[in-house]
Amino acid sequence: MSINVRFFASLRERVGSATLLVEAEGIRTARDVWAAVSDQPVDEDVLVAINKDYAALDRPVADGDEVAFFPPVTGG
């Protein structure tokens, strides 16, 4: 099983991918998910959502979850 990782806006362009699948084994939190997809530390202003709800980086994630990373929002 795996975790579905999504990126939006400038972060998607930086990562070079809109979605990635990460093996769930050894992953405990959203921060671990980030570490699995990037060599860089996560920027302070990066926002995180788990299953389409805002979440803290240290929130636990589970097998099959969708974890999204995106920059500060600029709608309206």
Binding site: F8, A9, S10, Y54, A68, P71, P72, T74, G75, G76
Partner: protein, 144 residues
């Protein structure tokens, strides 16, 4: 309550009129406050030719609905209509509509402002501008 993300242009005034006619018939609504946000042709001192608006399908709608639900509960608002454009826009195109409906004006004004500010600061939406010199992501929203 109605929340929608629109990939196509919309006319906010027609939308408000249609919503009132269909959803709010009868005499319970005494006040309607409307905010319409429109794309400018300048930002941070630069001329802007076009803009691409991106959202997080599913989360953006869910988040906006939660903001409206909260305003309805907090302000005893009767109803609200929130529409937001995505995709490619050019200057003059309407980006966002927040219309609030209540028995009295204070509730409608307060809730309209509150929903709009919450949308600006927390709804998953991102703007990328096209300038003469190339493209750039908007880093942060204007304060007000």
């Amino acid at each position: 309550m109605h929340v929608d993300i629109r990939p196509e242009p919309f006319d906010p005034w027609q939308e408000v009129a249609a919503y009132r006619a269909v959803q709010l018939a009868g005499g319970a609504i005494g006040a309607c406050a409307v905010f319409v946000g429109t794309m400018r042709d300048f930002n941070e001192g630069d001329s802007v030719q076009a803009m691409q608006l991106e959202h997080y399908p599913g989360m953006t709608e869910k988040h906006l609905a939660a903001l409206v639900e909260q305003a309805i509960t907090t302000h005893e608002l009767s109803d609200a209509l929130v529409l937001h454009r995505v995709g490619k826009l050019t200057p003059g195109a309407d980006i966002v509509l927040v219309a609030t409906f209540s028995a009295h004006r204070k509730t409608a004004f307060d809730a309209c402002r509150e929903i709009m500010e919450a949308l600006k600061s927390s709804a998953p939406l991102w703007k990328k501008e096209t300038l003469a010199s190339g493209e750039r992501w908007v880093a942060e929203n204007t304060p007000g």
